[in-house]
């Protein structure tokens, strides 16, 4: 059970597709004008992602390696079509405001990325949980961005207008505003060293600069580089030694077995 929760944590926080992996930027920048749109887009992508990961993982031994990308696209496209028709039937307002970005989920790099990087190598259940985690991470990212943009650009929170019209900064409703908000949130995430794949690994603490390239220049940079390099070599040697030890142990076991059979 633990590994499934780990998958969720990984998708939502550690490898958040929006703020850490920087995947799926096209819908991130385009549809996050209102919080409702952000949630809608996030959840539609989640639905597609869960089932595409599940199916691709289940079919991973049947699909020949050479034609895997077309096969993935066929699976994803069928799922997207289902989601699109469901949205059109039951939530037409969301369908209209998301527009072209629903069919574009087919080529969303989060979905193909997870199919390639995870579903094609792991079992169906883990893959489905990976899809849930990534999808929820994407939803959280989109909703955060959309909340700020909606509040600043059109003075509303979930459609409820709270800022008078005179004080709205229209640029946040447009494309440049999306870049600003995304950049600021990612910077905050980095600044506060939120747990993520790119933040605060152990080896950094051994460096003089704490792994922060901002304070680094010239000779200090070089010496840090050598430190990192030596750490890497040390890790390699350790791994090699461990391998050798394991091999030796195996041999000893084999020998013991042989001895036993001889007896």
């Amino acid at each position: 059970m633990n590994k499934y929760i780990e998958r969720l944590y990984n998708g939502i926080i550690k490898e958040n597709p929006t703020f850490v992996l920087m995947l799926g930027m096209c819908p991130t920048l385009a549809v996050t004008t209102t919080a409702v749109n952000g949630i809608g887009m996030g959840l539609s992508t989640t639905a597609v992602l869960v089932f595409s990961n599940l199916l691709i993982s289940a079919l991973r031994k049947i699909i020949p390696d050479r034609v895997r990308i077309p096969a993935y696209i066929v699976i994803v496209a069928s799922l997207v079509t289902i989601v699109q028709l469901l949205l059109q039937a039951y939530i037409p307002s969301l369908y209209n405001s998301l527009g072209i970005f629903i069919p574009l989920i087919v080529v969303n790099c989060i979905i193909l990325g997870r199919a390639e990087a995870y579903a094609a190598k792991n079992g169906p259940v883990e893959s489905a949980f990976d899809g849930i985690g990534m999808g929820l991470g994407f939803t959280v990212g989109l909703t955060c961005i959309a909340l700020f943009r909606e509040l600043l650009g059109s003075g509303a929170v979930f459609g409820m207008e709270i800022v008078p019209e005179d004080y709205r900064i229209a640029i946040f409703g447009l494309a440049p505003g999306a870049f600003f908000v995304l950049a600021c949130l990612t910077a905050l995430q980095n600044k506060f060293k939120a747990p993520s794949a790119t933040n605060g690994s152990v080896s950094h603490s051994k460096l003089a600069c704490g792994g922060n390239c901002m304070n680094c220049s010239g000779s200090a940079c070089m010496s840090n580089h050598t430190t990192l390099e030596s750490l890497r070599i040390q890790a390699q040697e350790e791994a090699l030694a461990a391998k050798k030890a394991a091999l030796a142990k195996k041999e000893a076991e084999m020998k013991a077995k042989m001895d036993k059979t001889e007896e």
Binding site: D166, R168, I169, A170, I171, F172, L174, P176, F180
Partner: protein
Amino acid sequence: MNKLLNVSSSPHVRSTDTTQSIMLDVAIAMLPAAAFGVFQFGMHALLVLIVTVAACVLSEFVFEKIAKRKNTIADMSAVVTGLILALNMPADIPLWIPVLGSIFAIIVVKQLYGGLGQNFMNPALAARCFLLISFTGKMSSFTLDGWSGATPLAVLKTGGSVDVAAMFIGKIPGTIGEVSVIALLIGAAYLVFKKIISLRIPVTYILTVAVFAFIFGQQDMNFVLAHICGGGLIFGAFFMATDYVTSPITPKGQIVFGILLGVLTGLFRLFGGSAEGVSYAIIISNLMVPLIERVTLPKAFGKEGK
């Protein structure tokens, strides 16, 4: 003869110019235009000027304190940014809008990219475009002597005719600093006299706009002169396009830059949706500067033939 001479490595020729002295000269050169703006639009214009400059300096100070950088407010660059931004505001703008613009100019455009010398576009103009997109209505409603009116360029756009003499003196609606051509030219003459700016960019810029207006607009002297005197062209050409950080340093590049500015401004004014296009032309051309410098890099001595 046995006095020990000091031997040092090059450069041996030194100039007395410092960032501070240059920025001070630019600020002085903008004073005639600012004074005319205050004289014409009243005390609220003065208030806008003071508040914008103060907001720019304060943002720079606060950001450098927070980021633990060297304090650079003494080099006057924030004052110049604030002055340019304030002169680009309509006189009766609510004061919080230029304050927001100042924060954007100094923190987002200048400091986040590394401070003075690292900004990829003119901070004051980037902030003006930010405000223009965000508060289109307030940023483009101009009043003069109590009645609100269209700027001469907007009149031209709708096919009317304008009085070029009034535009030259500045008796027209517009932003605080751009209205009076004569006051701007006095400041520009001071800059040229002090050798702070060269005439290459402004002259090619203005000439290109004139030629563009003549070819694609009306073949009429009044129309061409109105395009030269109208809007922010004179202000932009002498004070904003010549910004050291965001204009090419190669002489040929400066001419290319001026022509690019002129063509873009002409396109925006004659074929675009709005009547004015100087700010957008300058910030787009700012982005082209590294490319322009790359192709116009002079050959080193001895390598010209190859």
